[in-house]
C-alpha cells in the first residue's frame, strides 16, 4: 500500500512541474519549478537522504531559481510585456506523444524486467560521517575536476555576458 506522504509529494512534484511549463507568466513558472524542486527534496527526505535534501533546497531553490528570476527580469522587451509565446507551438501535440512514449517505455521496462522490486530494508539513516568519509576517500579526484568545471562555468558565464565597449553588439543594447 503506497503510503500517503509519497503519493502527496509525487503529486506535488508532477503538478508543479506541469505548471512550470504551462504557466502563462514566466515568473509563476519559476515559482512552479521551485515548488517541484522542494517536492523532490521532500522525496529525498523520505528516502533517508535528509542531508542531501537540505542542500538540494539550498542550491537549487535558493540559488538557481534566484538566478532564473533575475534573468527573466532582465530579458523583457522594452514594452514591459513579459516575454511569452504569441501563439502555442504548432508541434505541441507531437511533444506530448513523444514524452508519453518515453515515459511509458522507461516505466514499462522497469515493471516488466523487475516485477519483484526489492523491498526496502528497515529504515536506514545514513551517517553523515561515513558519507563525508566516502566522499573524501573515493571521490577526491572527481572533486578536483568539479572545481575546474565550476571555475570554467563562472569565468565563461561572465565573459559571455559582459559588454565590450570596443565592438558594439549588432542587436539591441541595454
Amino acid at each position: 500500500m503506497p503510503d500517503m506522504i509519497f503519493l502527496a509529494l509525487s503529486a506535488v512534484v508532477v503538478a508543479s512541474a506541469v505548471f512550470a511549463l504551462e504557466a502563462k507568466e514566466l515568473i509563476y513558472g519559476t515559482i512552479g519549478l521551485g515548488v517541484s524542486l522542494v517536492g523532490v527534496a521532500g522525496l529525498f527526505m523520505l528516502l533517508g537522504a535528509e542531508y542531501l535534501a537540505m542542500f538540494q533546497v539550498a542550491v537549487y531553490v535558493g540559488a538557481v531559481v534566484v538566478l532564473i528570476l533575475f534573468t527573466i527580469m532582465l530579458v523583457r522587451r522594452e514594452s514591459g510585456r513579459i516575454v511569452d509565446e504569441e501563439e502555442p507551438a504548432s508541434f505541441g501535440s507531437v511533444g506530448i506523444y513523444v514524452a508519453a512514449l518515453v515515459a511509458l517505455a522507461v516505466a514499462g521496462a522497469v515493471i516488466l524486467l523487475a516485477p519483484v522490486s526489492p523491498v526496502a530494508p528497515e529504515f536506514y539513516q545514513v551517517q553523515l560521517q561515513d558519507l563525508g568519509r566516502s566522499l573524501a576517500a573515493s571521490y577526491g579526484v572527481a572533486l578536483v575536476i568539479l572545481g575546474l568545471v565550476i571555475g570554467a562555468a563562472v569565468v565563461g558565464g561572465l565573459t559571455l555576458v559582459k559588454i565590450d565597449r570596443e565592438e558594439k553588439p549588432s542587436g539591441t543594447t541595454e
Binding site: M54, V61, G62, V66
Partner: protein, 344 residues
C-alpha cells in the same frame, strides 16, 4: 442519575484532543519555543529597539501605552490590523500575499531546531544547522518576488538591494560556521551546545564569531547594512507597497528573523543553555538572546549607512577572506591536537 449518553465518537475525540493539547510536543510548538514565544519576543524586541534607539538619540521613546510604553507594539499591531490594504495599480496582489506568508513561515522556521534546554527542543534534527542554512537561502527569492510583484520603483530597488546584500553575506556567514562544524564534527545544534561545556566557541572561533555577527547584521538588513530600507533614499525598501496587515506581517517576519538570528548566535557561539544552574536553562538562552539583540540594536543607533558597492565588495572580499582565514586557524588548531576539547 444516568450519565448523559454522549455520542460515542465524540467522547474519544474529546479525550484524544485533551491528550494532544496537554502533550509535551504540543506545548513546545504552541507555547514556549514555538508560536507564543515568537510573537511575544517580536513585540518585546520592537519595544526594546525603539526604547534603545531613543535613549541613544537622547529622547525617551514610547512612553504612554502601559508602563514605559511596553504595550506600544501591541497598540501598533491592532492599529495595523484595521488599516486598509491598498493594492497599487498593476501590482500582483496574489504574489504579494503569498510572499508575505512565505516570508513569515521562512523567518520562523529555524526556531524549531534551536535548543532551549538539555532536552527542550521542538525537533532535535541531526542536520539542524543545514536546515537553517537552507531556510536562510530561500529569503532572496521571496524578497525579489515581493519587489517585482509590487510594481513600484522603490520596492523593486529595495527588493534588489536586499537580494544582493543577503546573497553577498550568506556565504561568509556559513563558512564562518564551518569552523565550529570542523571542531565538533556534528551538525546537531544540541550537540554543538553540549560541546561548549568547557569553553564557549567565542574564544577559539573569535574570527568566526566576528564574521558571523557582521553577516547576521547584513542578513537582518540592520545598520550599518540597512540599504534596502534606507529611510532617506528608499522609503521602506521592499516593504513600501505593502500596507495594512501585509505590512504588519512583513514587519513581524523581519523581527522574527532578528530574534531567530540572535538565538542562533547564542546557540552557536555563546553556549546556548550552559550557565551556572541558579537560573533554569531556557531562561539562560532567552537572556543571552536578548543580550545579543541589545548589542545589535545599539549598533543600529551608532553606525552610519554603508554605500552599496562597498557593501558588496566587503561582503565578498573581506568577509570571505576572514572566513577562510578562520577555517585555516581551525585546521591548525585541530592539527595541534587541541580538537579534543570540543570533540563531542
Amino acid at each position: 442519575m444516568t450519565q448523559l449518553q454522549v455520542l460515542p465518537g465524540l467522547q474519544e475525540m474529546v479525550d484524544s484532543l485533551v491528550k494532544i493539547v496537554t502533550s509535551r510536543t504540543f506545548l513546545e510548538i504552541v507555547i514556549f519555543p514555538g508560536l507564543l514565544n515568537v510573537l511575544l519576543s517580536v513585540a518585546f524586541l520592537t519595544w526594546l529597539e525603539r526604547k534603545i534607539i531613543a535613549r541613544v538619540q537622547l529622547r525617551i521613546g514610547p512612553l504612554y501605552a502601559g508602563i514605559w510604553g511596553v504595550l506600544q507594539p501591541i497598540a501598533d499591531f491592532v492599529k495595523l490590523l484595521f488599516k486598509e490594504m491598498i493594492s497599487p495599480e498593476l501590482a500582483d496582489v496574489k504574489l504579494l500575499m503569498l510572499c508575505a506568508l512565505g516570508l513569515m513561515m521562512l523567518a520562523a522556521a529555524p526556531i524549531v531546531t534551536i535548543p532551549f534546554g538539555e532536552a527542550f527542543v521542538i525537533a532535535n534534527m541531526d542536520i539542524g544547522l543545514i536546515f537553517v542554512f537552507a531556510v536562510m537561502s530561500l529569503f532572496p527569492s521571496v524578497l525579489l518576488l515581493i519587489g517585482w510583484g509590487s510594481n513600484s520603483k522603490y520596492s523593486f530597488l529595495g527588493g534588489l538591494r536586499s537580494l544582493f546584500q543577503q546573497v553577498a553575506y550568506e556565504i561568509p556567514m556559513w563558512l564562518s560556521v564551518l569552523g565550529i562544524v570542523m571542531l565538533t564534527g556534528t551538525l546537531n545544534l544540541a550537540e554543538i551546545v553540549r560541546a561548549q561545556q568547557k569553553v564557549w566557541f567565542v574564544i577559539p572561533q573569535v574570527l568566526g564569531f566576528a564574521v558571523f555577527f557582521t553577516a547576521a547584521l547584513a542578513e537582518l538588513e540592520r545598520t550599518p547594512f540597512d540599504l534596502p530600507e534606507a529611510e532617506t533614499e528608499l522609503v521602506m525598501g521592499w516593504m513600501t507597497e505593502l500596507s495594512g496587515a501585509a505590512f504588519m506581517v512583513g514587519f513581524m517576519a523581519m523581527y522574527t528573523k532578528f530574534y531567530v538570528m540572535s538565538a542562533l548566535i547564542t546557540t552557536l557561539f555563546l553556549g546556548g543553555w550552559l550557565g551556572p544552574a541558579i537560573i533554569p536553562e531556557p531562561i539562560w538562552v532567552v537572556l543571552k538572546t536578548f543580550l545579543v539583540a541589545v548589542v545589535i540594536v545599539t549598533i543600529r543607533g551608532t553606525f552610519p549607512r554603508v554605500r552599496v558597492d562597498i557593501l558588496l565588495r566587503t561582503g565578498w572580499m573581506r568577509l570571505l577572506l576572514l572566513a577562510l582565514v578562520n577555517i585555516v586557524v581551525t585546521v591548525i588548531l585541530i592539527w595541534l591536537g587541541l580538537g579534543w576539547v570540543w570533540r563531542v
